[in-house]
Symmetry: D2
Subunit: 341 residues, 4 copies
Amino acid sequence: MMIVMKPNATSEEIEHVVARVRSVGARAHISRGEEVTLIGAIGDREHVQRLELDGAPGVAQVVPILKPYKLSSAQFGGGERSVFEIGGRRVGGEHFALIAGPCTVESREQLLETARACRDGGAVMLRGGAYKPRTSPYAFQGLGQEGLRLLAEAKEIYGMPIVTELMDVRDIEPVLEVADVVQIGARNMQNYTLLSEVGRAGVPVLLKRGLSATLEELLMAAEYVLKEGNERVMLCERGIRTFETAYRFTLDLMAVPVLKQLSHLPVIVDPSHAAGRRDLVMPLSLAAAAAGADGIIVEVHPNPEEAICDGPQALRADEFADYAAAVERAAAVAGKVFAAA
Amino acid sequence: MMIVMKPNATSEEIEHVVARVRSVGARAHISRGEEVTLIGAIGDREHVQRLELDGAPGVAQVVPILKPYKLSSAQFGGGERSVFEIGGRRVGGEHFALIAGPCTVESREQLLETARACRDGGAVMLRGGAYKPRTSPYAFQGLGQEGLRLLAEAKEIYGMPIVTELMDVRDIEPVLEVADVVQIGARNMQNYTLLSEVGRAGVPVLLKRGLSATLEELLMAAEYVLKEGNERVMLCERGIRTFETAYRFTLDLMAVPVLKQLSHLPVIVDPSHAAGRRDLVMPLSLAAAAAGADGIIVEVHPNPEEAICDGPQALRADEFADYAAAVERAAAVAGKVFAAA
Amino acid sequence: MMIVMKPNATSEEIEHVVARVRSVGARAHISRGEEVTLIGAIGDREHVQRLELDGAPGVAQVVPILKPYKLSSAQFGGGERSVFEIGGRRVGGEHFALIAGPCTVESREQLLETARACRDGGAVMLRGGAYKPRTSPYAFQGLGQEGLRLLAEAKEIYGMPIVTELMDVRDIEPVLEVADVVQIGARNMQNYTLLSEVGRAGVPVLLKRGLSATLEELLMAAEYVLKEGNERVMLCERGIRTFETAYRFTLDLMAVPVLKQLSHLPVIVDPSHAAGRRDLVMPLSLAAAAAGADGIIVEVHPNPEEAICDGPQALRADEFADYAAAVERAAAVAGKVFAAA
Amino acid sequence: MMIVMKPNATSEEIEHVVARVRSVGARAHISRGEEVTLIGAIGDREHVQRLELDGAPGVAQVVPILKPYKLSSAQFGGGERSVFEIGGRRVGGEHFALIAGPCTVESREQLLETARACRDGGAVMLRGGAYKPRTSPYAFQGLGQEGLRLLAEAKEIYGMPIVTELMDVRDIEPVLEVADVVQIGARNMQNYTLLSEVGRAGVPVLLKRGLSATLEELLMAAEYVLKEGNERVMLCERGIRTFETAYRFTLDLMAVPVLKQLSHLPVIVDPSHAAGRRDLVMPLSLAAAAAGADGIIVEVHPNPEEAICDGPQALRADEFADYAAAVERAAAVAGKVFAAA
């Protein structure tokens, strides 16, 4: 950490900062420049981060030098990228994971028809929501337990690992009975209670970036899970909020290469929620794959016009195989191959 | 709801939309313009909102006409602004509520010294965190139960209603034993589980706007609480995320008059978290009061240099009375008077 | 245009709006709903747009139905995408235009060496700045006339059309002597004086999106050029401003498919300025090409460490051919072929 | 400037950076920490800023320590805040400048009626646009020369200094004949050609912050004017772009106290353009004044319903005196007095 003193800082103020740095067991390294004095705080990262010197007398600016995350950082574990297994499928490295399924589980027929199309098209996991976070308390909130039961049935029939969202810590047991991957939604990215619980549960986690979360905050959220000893976290970019009104969210594909530089964790892209419209899903998916994403999670429905939730953005089940083939070509440009079942 | 058809929409597509509108029990009102056809869907708000026509064949745009919130809207209850009581203090209307206290409860001495300064300076409620949401899992997470115990003691000694944050639904019982107002933090604004629970508990709620939440989303979050029959919700503006890096968050004071137009609920401003620096708290507080806020929630510490959390933004306890007097003058410009104990 | 009246609008207020609509020669189409009354203003687009009814008594909201741009819209010219010629190269349609060169013209040697590498690697046009918009008045502002002279020399030797920026209307004559395409920078996207002048000059224009311009504003800026009878405008996405601090700008690749839906004009992506770092340029370029961009404009330097300006983001000239080959593969995924010289 | 090396930077890379720092005449100050090495570049600010080390081999991060602006910084001129005279009125310091008038000069009658109401209400300068930057090329672009002539007449009759916008450097002469203050609009904040010209002209400048400009960029734009020897620059906050759609722009009132800390220049607030609606202008004005603004520039019209441009946001001329009286009370809270004519 580097503390930049104000041009007119007194020697008492400088000494006070130095004393503060030493009080947490760190060394203080003073550079007196022509205009300002800099004080480097060198020592144990966690101790140094506990220094709260912004706004202290004579302090102009505090510049963090080290990243605040550790277990999720690219340096952790010798600098290799994580590759791990989920229900027999490998995620990360050269493997490209296509995760597909309905936004919401609506009925047995809808789920099974979608699951078959996804499996046949090359998807490696099945997504489907039983508990849905909805902006409006008046909107459909998901089938709940019945949705979980249907997911279990689809899993048995088609042999695909299941990705489903957990919103309430009190639902963790029934969700874990069927989920191979627990999804933490964007609105819950900083629900630390939930993060710690899924960390302790040891189940693979798909962690969505909050609507206005920085990459650093996303990695700090992942750190909450990793800290509990759970190493299987996938980071998911799903669109951020900007001033643009022509689309629901702005899919931030720069996050893909940058997260891969900052962290060893796999990076998945959700093109459906940012787009909000089916016709944008294909170009965004190709772009995500070409940018080097480790996978895509996409919404599919046998009859989007009749969908209870987010129909306009769902790919049609009968067009899924063509979609998947195009994504496979784009992934190949970035040196990735589709994960085999 | 208004559905704008594409210029080249076919009559089949128009008829399909009309049929869809009728299928939810609404009336369809067709206007054929020179360039496009518009279809108005008129009927029960909730039914109409269930129409998912974005992206349907021939549809160019779907324009919502009615607000999606109801209980929190300005029209609800005959258009009068809410005034309610919390521990004997009135909030809303002409009353200006100054809520003050430490970011985090650190010790008995720190809390009681702060509480006394706040009460003497004219604060009407005491804030203090026992459970702290922290970006980093390595940071201090609050004193928990011990913090609640200290808050109870301060309440008994100084007779001030207590505002404290709830993060985990499983902590609701001990929190309710001491809290007169439950604070829902910005990161939990869309934690629907939590919102519904505090709604059911019937305790007054201070609901902070999420870092990138629109005003409409804030009101929808309030709706989750109101829907359970709990009418005492205070909306809290605490800074949003923008591109500006000169400050931590951008305090959005336009939210004050606009929320007061959209909703009957009281609007409180938190100047401390946006600023992140003590020297900005005074001008932002004066501005908030002059803009017509119904109150301010501000952080105070007897010795900010030694604070565990957010010290740089805390007002000094011994300067609090001067601060409160200045805020009182600014509130008067907007026609507000400080709530009396 | 649709005018939504307030729930409590009086009949006088409604009549006043209707009269106002008629006063500009438009028809008023009234729909009385259960909660609100809607008034459609149907007629000549330009007349209707002149109605300024926001905030008029009784008016809740004014919803534009038609897009405010015309010549740049996808509907213009029968719905076909523009394909045009620049110095013998075709831009738009199935053609992918790779435009490359130094940020700034620094010297004869630097420019010619870069130009050769770009041409050999498959670039179809040469970019290079003679006039540079710099945030700081103390920074290098470009070689000016001498830079233009060097560009003319490179053009003669390598036979590549030249793309260079115009900042000051008073420089238009010397710039037009060498430029095959005039670049309008992001900071000048709404410099209407400049837009109209390059419109009148009839020279092809590369129009960069402003740092926080919406797509609609970009198309309105293009409209200023098109209105003067100049049809050869390329739209350029170069990154927008968001809250994220991990990169300089957030490259908005959703703009690619969406601009192609909204407009017939070719869409070019500049990955260099958003990234600000060489190592991000390749993944962003692959993503842009796979998303369906009509071209890329990228910075190249023979020795980036010695560059006067933006060296860190420049591709190395001796690696350009490999870069171009990868981009060609990504463009193929989107059905595009590199434009031949 | 502080250069943070990567954890695995080699000694060659470190030496290369050190050599680079010395090559611009600066001293290199090396701190070897446990995890990373820091290199401070100490020396002449302009030389150091010319170092482009981001992305150089082994470099993790480059942290600027000094601000890039100089003449506009708070330190310049001994740390005193600027107070200067414009047409006999003092701006800055304890003086609060209320600048009012129509958005656009429409007619002799409209301008004179507005001017009288503004003068009578206590406004110290008259604003009015003769050249209007419009998003649409089809919108009214201002009366031009005729508008300037009318402003000259109003100035003669009411004796108020005139504030009017300059968009095209080629119009500078006629504008200077009438303008006491030249306004540079938000879209032209980084039109460096224009900034340098008004700098050389020596006329007082009202410089509006760009829609997504950081405070640092605003100060750098001011630096372009100051560098030419023109010291009379007023900074103007007028709303920035955020994700919020409930208002046109988000007025950033934090900019007021922060700009006053960073710079000695007066800070003016424009509440009209952010609001876009009359009913928000009053609370935003009170907030701006209470936050410590040095003045307000606000739009007034005798008959807003008939205004050609931005009528919905204009205050009614016959309500201006009440508005001004309220603003005066809010300014007093911040220790400011209305400038006397």
